[in-house]
Amino acid sequence: MSTINFANREINFKIVYYGPGLSGKTTNLKWIYSRIPEGRKGEMVSLATEDERTLFFDFLPLDLGEVKGFKTRFHLYTVPGQVFYNASRKLILRGVDGIVFVADSAPNRLRANAESMRNMRENLAEYGLKVEDIPVVLQVNKRDLPDALPVEMVQAVVDPEGRFPVFEAVATEGKGVFETLKEVSRQVLARVGST
């Protein structure tokens, strides 16, 4: 699924941040952008509405460095979370190598988390993919909310089989942001190394 450019000796991977509206997908990318040194990141592109809700996607290219003579790069995307932007979400999933599912810890967003995961499975199926086919990491965000649900409860509705690695996060403060990205990157790279 990765895009390999032999001439420039580059391997490119596409990682998509998925999840319900306002769960913190864009905040993850903004934090990453603010902390990655110059020279290792490209320009961040955000296609957002006036109130900063993601309209189409956010995009951030990252350079990992050279691995066995191949420049290895990650392209990070977010999808719009709001229910009515499903066409955009489907388009962004094309050619995905790994997914970070950003779930919201707020009690009134439990159902939205479950709906979003169901929607992700459906959209992946349109490309002939199942969640079992690609690395997926679950980030349970907004752990700083005073009424945050227990992680196990969030996990029970989005991943009842406990298939995905879970990371707790407060994306506004950067907590858990790099840990999540590192895990999904590690899994994506491991798949290339094993082929």
Binding site: T3, K68, R186, G193
Partner: protein
């Protein structure tokens, strides 16, 4: 069906570069890009006289997103596809044409390049590239990376994201 990766290697890559070079010469465009539908640059060329190109990653990503949206629009209107997309501003323009199922040709041009030439030679270049893409998809090269790749990559992940 899982989408296959489009990989250009060796003579196929060189032939693609030749097509891009010829497209630049025939049209007078500034930059020519061959990108996949996922938004990654497969090959690119710029005219000798052209200033520094815009960020190619962002350009390719936005063009691929735009092409996907355009295709969805076509379907809404009962069309199988809108094959080409042209944007024209006061000084700069963008021509995008389909290269088969998996890729796109992008020409970035300024006000000195006639749109008719861009469209005519752009379409020809896209057709040639489509044949190259078919060859590439039919004969994908092997990457032959071993576990060492995984170890080296892991070390770089630690360096970039912390332990």
């Amino acid at each position: 069906m899982v989408e296959p990766s489009l990989v250009l290697y060796g003579t196929l890559y060189q032939r693609a570069m030749d097509v891009l070079q010829e497209a630049l010469q025939e049209t007078g465009a500034r930059y020519a890009l061959f990108i996949d539908r996922k938004g990654f640059v497969l090959a690119h060329k710029e005219a000798l006289w052209a200033p520094k190109p815009p960020p190619l990653d962002s350009l390719a990503t936005l063009v691929a997103g735009n092409a996907a949206a355009t295709q969805a629009l076509a379907k809404l209107l009962g069309e199988a596809r809108f094959q080409e997309v042209v944007h024209q501003g006061e000084h700069m323009g963008l021509y995008v044409d389909e290269v088969g199922e998996a890729a796109l040709l992008v020409l970035v041009f300024d006000e000195n390049a006639p749109l008719g030439k861009i469209k005519l030679h752009g379409k020809r270049a896209a057709e040639t590239l489509a044949r190259l893409a078919e060859e590439a998809l039919a004969n994908p090269p092997k990457l032959n990376l071993d576990t060492q790749y995984r170890e080296e990559a892991k070390a770089l992940l630690d360096e970039l994201f912390g332990n």
